[in-house]
Amino acid sequence: MSDLWAELFQVEPLLPRTVNNITGPLLNGNPVIIIIYLLVGLFIAGYAYVLWFKYKLNWEKVGRAGIMALLLFWIILEIIRSFSYLAYFSEDRDKFGGKTLAQKRSQVPPVGFYSFVEFVHSQVPRSAPVSVRMDLDQYSGMMWNYYAAPLNQTAEADAEYIIGINVEPIAGAELFVQTYWVAKR
């Protein structure tokens, strides 16, 4: 039973795919929403039956009662969700709160990437043609393009500077920048 409660109130981690989908609370691996719809459906049917059998069936009244029940569950879902909000808030406060912009950028994975970008900007004039030797995952590649822009990136043969970086995962954790270098031709 306590496992079910723990599952219900489990914080949903913020992942890259969260931008496309939020799973919501689960029970035995299934969305709680299924159970809620089932309960509301039963309630509506039962209430309609009682009204029809004992009083006078008024569909608007039945509908309103069903909606009230649904809204009650909505608020419960929001209370459950607020545990996730609290967790995100604490996590981001610890990670980013009270830090400088450069420190905040360094916290975004791959860890240490922004230090590399700052190093590149300190070594390479903005208009100089540069070429990069790196084997990055998709996210780190986008990160490089974003932070490097508007650096003049070109083919290695035409480059005045060559930049190298090695990004590796450490101990199954987030990606971590291991080594980097800038060379002038």
């Binding site: 919501g24 608007e60 974003y146």
Partner: protein, 453 residues
């Protein structure tokens, strides 16, 4: 219209016009600079609008909301306070989460914020095809509103601070809540309006998107406002509302390509009743002018962007190239996407119980919807869903339904309207129970009287 609502609409329209101005500057070869951008607006505000606006504002503070009639007053301040506090907390959370960290979103890193950074450092939009950052890189065919607005925040800050830049997203969230609240408040009590605004502020995916750097919920804010004022026009026949709706709908096409479809949904909802109801040429002429009012903002605001895209051979949406012939030849049929979409609507954690509520409201309150102007709210949402469903079932987008990329982000653009309809149709318990109980008895007695006669 209340001052707060004016400010919210002002943010939506103001940011839209500002980025159009920046686009125009780039076309004219004018480099971006703070005074160059804001000075024309200062002149316009002070010289032409300032004095009357201030006067109207002072008058507006004490005036009741248009259309508010027979609403229960004197509700307990405790629930009102609790709901306001709950909404306020969520707004604070959204501001905090957005501002505490720099840009992290995928689409922002390779598209929106990348382009913004380039525009800022280059002082304009690179329009030379040979330039390595032509149109800022990223998805060149995507509308420029969001990147240019981000650029403007950098210009305003005097530096590239991509954490502070993100203030624009919580401000859109706040504007959306305000527009939503006042749309309800014109017909509902304060408590009901606050309650449904609170529900809007709880939609998990909407809250998450308000803290990151994507365009989906931003276009949703424009679509919501456009539909709200179109509905207001249909109810009041106030032409100002129609123009407001047209401007907002047109600007939604400046945020994302879907906005173009939302604009035409508005046009469709405006034209169909005119074509079906009018028998007299005189009246038709008058209403034809109304359609022109609706068309004008689109032609003026979005026309240059469409021409620009044609000139530069830019595509639509995610396709690198777009043609009608290509689209027709690429038609597929994938009905298996429908259960997947329904699952996303009803069983995911993105919207809490929103679509269940919508279904109940349509089933139990269908008369209140389809015999009143509220049917336009229903159809604006239904047509948007039909449009997206068409993309899922008949085009290459079906693969993205199964990879989980597309559906929820598309639905972000329309969920506020779904809830708006529920909020407008919903009736508060006590007064309504009385009416509902009396109505059948009254009907019976009227019938029996007739029978007696």
């Amino acid at each position: 219209m209340k001052l707060l609502e004016k400010l919210a609409i002002g943010y939506l329209i103001g940011t839209g016009l500002l980025t159009l101005q920046m686009f125009l500057y780039s076309l004219l070869g004018i480099k971006f600079n703070l005074w160059g951008i804001i000075l024309p607006w200062v002149v316009v505000l002070v010289g032409f609008v300032g004095a009357p606006f201030m006067g109207a504002r002072i008058r507006a503070v004490g005036t009741p909301l248009v259309g508010v009639r027979n609403l229960r007053t004197g509700t307990s301040p405790v629930p009102t306070f609790l709901l306001t506090a709950a909404i306020g907390l969520k707004v604070l959370y959204v501001f905090y989460e957005a501002l505490v960290k720099p840009v992290v979103g995928w689409d922002a890193l390779w598209n929106f914020s990348l382009r913004a950074k380039i525009f800022y450092f280059l002082g304009g939009i690179p329009l030379d095809r040979a330039h390595p950052y032509f149109l800022g890189g990223g998805m060149k065919q995507y509308p420029l509103h969001l990147p240019l607005l981000e650029t403007f925040t950098y210009i305003l800050q005097g530096g590239w601070n991509d954490a502070l830049m993100k203030v624009i997203f919580p401000l859109y969230f706040l504007s959306m809540l305000i527009v939503f609240y006042y749309a309800l408040r014109r017909e509902q009590s304060r408590l009901t309006s606050l309650f449904f605004t609170f529900l809007l502020s709880t939609l998990p995916l909407l809250v998450y998107h308000a803290t990151i750097e994507y365009a989906d919920f931003v276009v949703g804010a424009y679509f919501l406002a456009a539909v709200v004022y179109l509905y207001q026009f249909i109810k009041t026949k106030d032409t100002k509302m129609l123009i407001l709706s047209a401007v907002l709908a047109a600007l939604s096409a400046w945020v994302k390509d879907e906005g173009m479809v939302f604009y035409f949904i508005g046009l469709f909802l405006l034209v169909i009743p005119i074509l079906s109801a009018n028998k007299y040429a005189v009246k038709f002429k008058r209403e034809f002018i109304l359609v022109l009012y609706y068309l004008a903002p689109f032609l003026v605001l979005i026309g240059p962007w469409i021409i620009f895209k044609q000139v530069f051979g830019l595509s639509v949406g995610n396709e690198p190239t777009f043609s009608l012939a290509g689209m027709i030849s690429g038609f597929t049929f994938h009905p298996e996407t429908i259960p997947k979409v329904l699952e996303k609507m009803f069983l995911s954690g993105n919207w809490h119980l929103l679509f269940g509520l919508w279904a109940l409201v349509i089933i139990f309150y269908y008369k209140q919807i389809f015999t009143t102007e509220k049917k336009y709210l229903f159809w604006s949402t239904a047509l948007a869903i039909l449009f997206f469903s068409f993309l899922y079932v008949f085009t290459y987008n079906w693969t993205m339904v199964f990879s989980g990329i597309i559906v929820n982000r598309n639905f972000l653009t329309l969920v506020p309207q779904v809830l708006l309809l529920c909020g407008l149709v919903y009736k508060e318990g006590k007064t309504d129970v009385g009416n509902a109980d009396r109505a059948p008895t009254g009907a019976r007695s009227a019938k029996s009287k007739k029978a007696h006669k």
